[in-house]
Symmetry: C2
């Protein structure tokens, strides 16, 4: 357990994390990053009560803040080069100490140095956290959301729906502190909770896939809404086979696999898997990239002329649910 910190202690902890020379010890006006070519830039915020639960462990909030930003880099095939932190100090030194501890571990695990940032202190509002992440674009350029073409196969990495199921479990636990004892684990509900709290950005996979895809993005708000965005950006339609959407063994055991369970998975957020479209001729290269990165990928449909997302399963056409996922903010 990290000891509670005051503001200057918190900054001292950040300085200890920021060992990269470009960070200049967090003691200069700015950081410096040597950039050999195109840089990929993203900035995502987490707000208490909106993007995470007040009861979520601070170490997990730090992990998630890093992971959601690096997931955007992964979707562009970028190699992380560093991050800038925007942190709100609300006077809870225990929370801040645990957050700093978790931040250091997350950045180390994901090989992203802390280069700079800012801290602000205020009272009486939700905690607002932000991260700016920078990465080197892949050699052939960062894939966009708009490059999917009619005839392309649509793929997704990993499994879909675990994060959303984990959020539901976390909300239930937030009302039942004793239940927090199951907060860590690799199977059953604990595995789902872990996928919600500690998503894994698909960094190596994204880099390996980038040369072979026409379009790529991460699945943060829900498979269906994110696929709809890829369709809109690309000016094409997607036919998805709901039966082929990959569901983990933990989620199958937890929620079953009927149509409504699969629709719930496909409209839940917090997956941080990669959704991408690629010509059929790229299938072998894509399988090889996935094998190299150790992350399964699954073809779940095909792009065609038209617009929007269209669903079917073994029983035929599936009407789109009214809600396809989360709607919010700038990408």
């Amino acid at each position: 357990m990290a000891a509670a910190v005051n503001e200057s202690d918190f900054i001292a902890r950040l300085r200890a994390i920021a060992s990269d020379p470009g960070a200049r010890g967090l003691a200069d006006d700015a950081a410096v990053l040597a950039a050999p070519g195109d840089l990929v830039l993203t900035h995502d915020m987490l707000v208490e009560g909106v993007h995470y639960l007040a009861a979520d462990p601070p170490e997990d909030v730090a992990w998630k803040l890093v992971a959601v930003n690096l997931s955007d880099l992964a979707a562009k095939g970028a190699r992380p080069r560093g991050v800038l932190l925007g942190h709100s100090l609300l006077g809870d030194g225990d929370w801040d100490a645990r957050f700093a501890d978790g931040l250091g571990r997350a950045l180390e695990a994901m090989a992203a140095p802390l280069l700079g940032g800012d801290t602000v202190a205020y009272r009486g509002g939700p905690r607002v956290l932000s991260l700016t992440a920078l990465g080197d674009a892949p050699p052939g350029g960062a894939p966009s959301r708009s490059g999917a073409r009619a005839g392309d196969d649509i793929w997704v990495s990993g499994a879909i729906g675990d994060g959303g199921a984990g959020l539901t479990i976390a909300k239930r636990l937030a009302g039942d502190p004793a239940g927090l004892a199951i907060a860590r684990g690799t199977d059953g509900p604990a595995a789902l909770l872990d996928r919600y709290r500690r998503p894994t950005p698909r960094i190596a996979l994204g880099r390996a896939l980038a040369p072979h895809v026409g379009a790529m993005m991460d699945v943060s708000d829900g498979l269906l809404i994110d696929c709809k965005r890829m369709c809109a950006a690309s000016g094409a339609a997607a036919d998805l086979d709901l039966d082929r959407v990959p569901i983990s063994a933990a989620l199958l055991a937890h929620a079953g696999e009927d149509r409504s369970a699969r629709l719930a998975a496909a409209t839940a957020g917090d997956d941080y898997e990669l959704l991408f479209a690629a010509p059929a001729a790229s299938a072998h290269a894509i399988e090889a990239a996935a094998g190299g990165a150790g992350v399964p990928v699954t073809p779940i449909g095909r792009m065609r002329e038209g617009e929007g997302v269209h669903l079917s399963d073994a029983a035929g056409a599936v009407p789109l649910p009214a809600r396809l996922g989360y709607e919010h903010g700038v990408a």
Copy 2:
């Protein structure tokens, strides 16, 4: 007057501002920036009630958010390349519309394209705004705070204390809405208020000075505390002549020029001038750089062996005030 906006209108306004191709229309997971060499990175936050007054016009808050970040780039001699915005939507559509309007104008005036960012919506807390700014480092590298050496002259750009006096005026006006009619102007109290609300980052000056200085930083928290930080980073002491600290005609008329008025100016924040140290042999080059940028620079003291800031004026040694400026956060 900009019409009130909802969240999607606000994002549409940001998209209209984000015309740089690297922004990808704010419709992708991330932005892309071509970087020819070293990049300088900074991230500064503004919190309502902490860094600006709730009564400050939203256009001015947007200006200030851009200016304080670009001031950090200026201090490193960097040329702005773009910014990422972190914006909190608190349900006041009029405020957000005016902010977006002011952001577009500020970014245009300071030649910094909007490349990306994130918006979050919440209620019941202060507005938290942030910006990440990126710039190209100057050819010889970005000057640090730590390169000042014994014998260097200490210089400051522009005039010191206007921003702090403007803040005091703004606080008084916040309790007297009728007084807001003087909010724009170029002389008297209006000029001081304008310097507080619309600081000018010294971008061209910073770039011109960078090759000639040993150390450089911006004066954001107060001349004395910022100079103390430069001393600490450089492992040396500063002797400052309080009589030489440049005071504007508007501030002289407003506050006089006795020792206490000069100390108030030297310990107020919000100046966003450049403080730098350079060998005496660089004086001609520094004057030429200042002439080219159209911003006056004034030598105010000298570095020597030792530590800390030491003040004197025509009457002799001046005891340091207990408070040298604002203390907060990561650089």
